[in-house]
């Protein structure tokens, strides 16, 4: 019922965090808590070890941090307006992420659940489309590939699901 203490960048208008440590996904969900909300959705994306038969030993993320932070804040503000949310928050991990660990978390709360589900899906699509964060896939043989999919073709869903 009570607003949690600010856990992300105190003073920022929106709940955005970029961190090199493990993601505190419970804190992302707690950040959207609001007495006006009846539906609270948390999406957590985790590093997957196999993509299209290719084994990935670990992922690594890099960002243009000030721009990524600004864009995430703008996306949260847009989501809040577009889906009439009570609250929303986003966190992305940078640096090395081991298989099974969380790389991204988004949460949304709304009076009813359809808006909260729609908002988290929209936020994830926008994050993957335009926030300046890049993923490197490291393989067991020591080789690696930075992923730069062509924005003109549908994203190949290289990470989630």
């Amino acid at each position: 019922m009570h607003s949690p203490a600010p856990v992300f960048h105190p003073g920022a208008d929106e709940a955005v965090t970029l961190t090199r440590g493990p993601l505190d996904t419970a804190a992302v969900l707690a950040a959207v808590s609001d007495p006006a909300a009846g539906g609270n959705v948390l999406f957590v994306g985790t590093a997957r070890s196999v993509t299209a038969d290719i084994t990935t030993s670990r992922l690594e993320y890099e960002a243009h941090e000030p721009l990524a932070h600004a864009m995430l804040a703008a996306l949260l503000a847009e989501a809040r307006r577009r889906f009439s949310l009570a609250g929303c928050a986003a966190a992305h991990r940078l640096g090395v992420v081991e298989p099974g660990e969380a790389s991204v978390a988004v949460a949304a709360s709304a009076p009813h659940r359809p808006a909260a589900f729609a908002a988290t899906e929209w936020l994830m699509a926008e994050i993957k489309r335009e926030v300046p964060i890049w993923k490197c896939e490291h393989r067991p043989d020591g080789s690696h590939t930075w992923v730069h999919s062509d924005p003109n073709t549908p994203p190949p869903e290289t990470h989630h699901e």
Binding site: Y61, A63, P132, H148, H160
Partner: protein
């Protein structure tokens, strides 16, 4: 007082930094647009030209349009196709 305007500082990321073998460079700059800057960066580092053609350009903390003017001393980032999530 310096005789020449300060260079534009260009930052590279991820696979583009790897292809270029560097994370930044300074370009002498006497003025021009974002589109002009693209040509200058491609000429300076042909190895990244293919990826550059698919990239956005950021001025400071926002994405820039092709016809925007780039000031001397500006901080420019090349943003190749993203893959977060």
């Amino acid at each position: 007082m310096p005789d020449n305007p300060p260079p534009v500082r260009v930052t590279l990321f991820a696979g583009m930094a790897e292809a270029a073998g560097r994370r930044s460079l300074e370009l002498p700059w006497t003025g021009g647009t974002v589109a002009d800057l693209r040509h200058r960066v491609a000429a300076a580092m042909p190895a990244i030209a293919p990826l550059l053609a698919q990239s956005a350009i950021a001025l400071g903390n926002r994405y820039a349009k092709a016809d925007e003017s780039v000031a001397a001393g500006a901080d420019v980032a090349i943003i190749p196709p993203v893959s977060g999530g």
